[in-house]
């Protein structure tokens, strides 16, 4: 057992940067995938809808921890070696896409059918109506829950520590194993997560209030 030093806190801050990188990478990749899923759903194909519903159901209906273990260890067993960071980003992206696609699909579905009709009756094509009328309105409705989901993603990214990837939680575990200052270390980790998530939560609530005016 040794005393805590400044280097330990720098190590935690480095872990925090990896947590941020992991979360935002997953949000970006998951967001792109979710946008593709939403576009596919607009095609109104029964086969595509069933396939997407299965994917969304699978990722929403199973624990993220299990998904992480599957993509890291499971794929390795199948002969597909994948780095911990890549497995983490892949899993978190697929997980994010399942939730974000539902949030965004819901935001589009919430736009009254009459808005589609109004565009149609003015001679706008379906794509023009979508891009000029529906999406700008849906975006306003989707931003607050999307930002809210980012908070969940940041906190859930702590599960990546089971893969041995050194993000904030894993960094804390490593320092704790040699110092046993659990209260100070995990208290600091909690404060760092809070410092990251609280402003985003506030932003989400402000956006929600603004868009509901």
């Amino acid at each position: 057992m040794r005393a805590l030093n400044a280097g330990d806190f720098v190590y935690l801050l480095q872990g925090l940067l990896w947590t941020i990188a992991l979360s935002f990478s997953a949000l970006a990749a998951g967001g792109l995938l979710a946008a593709g899923i939403v576009a596919l759903r607009l095609l109104r194909s029964r086969a595509i809808d069933v396939a997407i519903a299965a994917y969304v159901g699978l990722f929403q209906g199973t624990p993220l921890l299990g998904q992480l273990l599957f993509f890291y260890f499971g794929l390795s067993i199948m002969g597909l070696d994948i780095a911990a960071f890549s497995a983490a980003v892949l899993t978190l992206s697929l997980y994010s896409a399942a939730f974000l696609s539902e949030i965004w699909r819901g935001a589009i579905a919430a736009i009254p059918r009459q808005q589609w009709e109004a565009g149609e009756s003015l001679g706008l094509g379906r794509l023009q109506t979508l891009t000029s009328i529906i999406l700008p309105q849906a975006l306003r409705a989707a931003i607050p829950p999307t930002v809210g989901f980012l908070v969940i993603l940041i906190k859930d990214s702590s599960l990546v520590s089971v893969l041995g990837f050194v993000e904030l939680t894993r960094a804390a575990q490593i320092i704790n194993n040699s110092t046993f200052h659990s209260f100070t270390i995990f208290g600091t980790v909690a404060l760092l997560y809070f410092a990251l998530c609280f402003p985003i939560s506030r932003l989400s609530r402000r956006l929600e209030a603004r868009f509901h005016q």
Binding site: Q114, Q115, E117, A118, E120, S121, L122, G123, L124, Q128, S132, I133, P136, Q137, R140
Partner: protein, 244 residues
């Protein structure tokens, strides 16, 4: 030449037959009021005229477009036919001016400055020259409905359809919309078909009245004579229900 020619038009939703053989001709410049109880099929017929609903049987020719064709030319139809809805259906994220310029730019491919100039002109026609930069949420119901009328007018339609456009308005706001339509009715270049429950509104705008009941036309003629001397018990019952 007719603006609208309907021959035995039929429309059903599932097992419910809403239009049971509508036949009529409407000449260019006519102002026609479609009256009838809720569920009589008048709004459905209006939506068929704009291609928002496909007809299931019969023939329907609107502004030179055959709507009974397997693939009707809806793009051309909507350049010629404007529709104003009961619930305005303005785009809430756009200002009044942007609501009026959107289809001009996207559909008619008018340059932005020309579209803005036309928007200013039609918004002035409906008395909203000072509300161009206002969002729908900043306007009263009557003002929103006038923006909706301006939005259609900006596309220079030859036929305008109005679907119960005063029904969602408070009584004190109806007058301003009726005033706009009365001025519009003076312009004989535009054919007008309006669905309404309000007899006074129908009288002030329409030269011809059609009464629909359970998917059929029961009365059709000059507004004053049809409303003055109803020929069917159904229309008499409708008039007495509306007037009491």
């Amino acid at each position: 030449m007719t603006m609208i020619s309907a021959r035995d038009v039929r429309k059903r939703f599932g097992t419910l037959e809403v239009l049971k053989g509508i036949s009529l001709d409407i000449a260019p410049g006519e102002r026609v009021a479609l009256l009838g109880r809720s569920g009589s099929g008048k709004s459905t017929f209006l939506r068929c005229l704009n291609g928002l609903e496909r007809i299931d049987g019969g023939g329907l020719d609107v502004a030179g477009i055959d709507l009974a064709a397997p693939k009707p030319d809806l793009k051309t139809l909507r350049r010629r036919v404007g529709i104003v809805f009961q619930s305005f259906n303005l785009f809430p994220h756009l200002t009044a001016e942007q609501n009026v310029t959107l289809a001009q730019r996207k559909v008619l491919k008018r340059p932005a400055d020309e579209a803005s100039r036309i928007a200013a002109d039609v918004l002035a026609q409906v008395g909203l020259a000072d509300k161009m930069k206002s969002y729908p949420s900043q306007l009263s119901g009557g003002q929103q409905q006038r923006v909706a009328i301006a939005r259609s007018l900006a596309l220079s339609p030859t036929l305008m359809l109005f679907d119960e456009i005063t029904s969602a308005l408070d009584p004190e706001l109806i007058g301003e919309v009726v005033g706009v339509l009365e001025r519009l009715a003076a312009n004989r270049d535009i054919t007008m078909v309006l669905v309404t429950h309000q007899l006074g509104f129908a009288r002030s705008i329409a030269s011809r009245t059609i009464f629909m009941h359970e998917g059929r036309i029961l009365e059709d003629g000059p507004a004053e004579s049809v409303m003055g001397t109803p020929a069917t018990v159904e229309f008499k019952a409708f008039l007495s229900a509306v007037l009491t």
